[in-house]
Symmetry: C2
Subunit: 402 residues, 2 copies
Amino acid sequence: MPPSITILPLGTASAVPSLTRNHSSLAVILPSSSTLIFDVGEGTQHRIQRFPLKLNKVEKIFITHLHGDHVFGLCPLLATLMNGAGGTADPDADPRTHDADAPPTKPRIEIYGPKGLREYIRAGLTLTYTHLGDWYVVHELHFPHDAPSDPTEHCYLKEHPSGTNIPQDPQGFWRDFAAWTHPAHGNVEFTISAAEIKHSVPSVGYVLTESPRPGKIPRDYAARISKHKEALQRSGHENPMKFLGLLQAWDCPEDAALELPDGTRLTKPPRVRGRKITVLGDTCDPSPIIPLAEYSDVLVHEATNAFLPGLDPATKGTETYEAVEERTKSRGHSTPEMAGRFAHAINSRYKDDDADGPDGAAKKIMVRIGVCAMGSWMTATGSSEGLRVTCARDGVPIEVKG
Amino acid sequence: MPPSITILPLGTASAVPSLTRNHSSLAVILPSSSTLIFDVGEGTQHRIQRFPLKLNKVEKIFITHLHGDHVFGLCPLLATLMNGAGGTADPDADPRTHDADAPPTKPRIEIYGPKGLREYIRAGLTLTYTHLGDWYVVHELHFPHDAPSDPTEHCYLKEHPSGTNIPQDPQGFWRDFAAWTHPAHGNVEFTISAAEIKHSVPSVGYVLTESPRPGKIPRDYAARISKHKEALQRSGHENPMKFLGLLQAWDCPEDAALELPDGTRLTKPPRVRGRKITVLGDTCDPSPIIPLAEYSDVLVHEATNAFLPGLDPATKGTETYEAVEERTKSRGHSTPEMAGRFAHAINSRYKDDDADGPDGAAKKIMVRIGVCAMGSWMTATGSSEGLRVTCARDGVPIEVKG
């Protein structure tokens, strides 16, 4: 059983934070403990201090869109991650400026997001005289309508010159633009891709995909090899048990096989599909990402507004679900029912509903929001089979088992 | 007795926040409940939610310098103060763009600080598509070496066109650049001035000064008028008690007097000096502000590093106070002893030491920091008479009685 991936919601509120819910941010901790952060609302570093997340493991940051409640915490987080506070008016007087005049091969932090992100970070760091003690890089995911720009022009102090603008492919995706290799054997273990999701400003969703893993070795293989051990050794297999190790190797050839003296063959078990985690920011229509997000193990989806008559005292008597959905969409957001329908559209196995209640939201409301999402799934499938809805709460981790 | 002014520290940490101390921010609540905020580190709006501070009373924001730990919370606070989240990529599609095409006479929020502040806010709001629902204005305090710029050029959406660049006067001050009038009688009750304080980037300190108040009427005035009431009425004073009301009026002439039939004169008691509160940000040498800050009732002064042998386990055996002070100054900061000496230099009556301990700082350390500050005051004066040292803590208010 491979180790779990942990999804840790750092903030699940939208624009206005409450005492228990901060602005949007979510961490994904890979089995290697490499940590990815999706969106960085104001106060994200404060949340990280309270939660079991190691700052030195944060490697990559992904921004879904540039609304303030998703990025206002980014520059301060970079400052904390890279010893960046308190520069001087004259950069030449700061030792960090000269620490390493030549950039290292690999920057400390890699940041991905829509066009404008690079300029946002440059302005935020420059105008506050923030001199970082280590290097960062920005890769922008460009839409065809984005004006071309040279990413290496006007690099800020400690902005690594390897920054790129990644074009959308003809199918509308940014495929496998970042990858993680397995720390032991060096094969690609995870990749990340992105696609547009509709919102009031340019916005992308991210899909983290684990590579197919070696299949589980049938229980009887060891006993069967053991039974024929001496005969196998005589026919040239010095240590026939080594075959089991070969089957677990990522680069084991598909046709690997061991023929036993009784004429039967032990063959390589088929690879097991890896896990898939889809993280969406704010959206009223994520359909462009469906081809990438199909069969996700976890879908993180917002649900900003919900129709909760009898439960939400702000519901007017004449209000209908349709009116709430209409209004929610017009602001670029979703209802729990929309989130549930989308989970069905991608055949997600589990669905994690990043729902937002009013300040001091009662658990009742959260449960009801979950039921709304579940209801639209059940309407589509006729059953709740295969669906788990979690209303995310700041700091409550979700384990994605291998 | 006039109502208290309340000083509420919102954040007392420096660059790296802890669970109990946030980045720099401080509120001053005037008797009229008008609220001023000095510096806005990341997460200030989160602190305000926990503390008894009314967002709708926040009128003016003063920035001491543009380091990130003093301004990273400014754009998100503006968004929350003025309904600013979630704009669209096309501003014309947002109803707030058209709400009030003509700016109102007075913007909702006025912001003051060193050059660069206007551009910082513009960049932060523009690149995050933040469309505010109300107007703000930025007034920059310009040093003579600051490049001239037109404050009304390139105004951002809802940036009020009344923004100014305020030049330093020949004495090196920005005097009385903002004022508050008394809600009842309309006379100027408070003014604010600024001067440079030395730090690693351009930095100013602020001095809030209350106008002299009418003096207290001597206890025997009422009885003496009463004794001669009829004689006074005969000589033309229809209601001689009215004289007491005149003496309490802010615009009472200095030579106001009532001659009693026994030949004695009741004269206007001398005005009482108003309160004075000096708020400094980060500094290693605030001496340019001394002429403005003299006789402050409260001085808010940082003390980033302290020499605490035997108490701070990080103290090396060979360390000396002089070495700590030297290192602290080289980074643009102060020790508690420097803060205490400065309190003496301005003859402050009370001193509020905005001291910063390490994460989870024990109360012992805070007390010792206070003692360091007190020690340097006592060395200078030979007595602790007239000094009160408070080590500020987030959310613990300090009342400045009238």
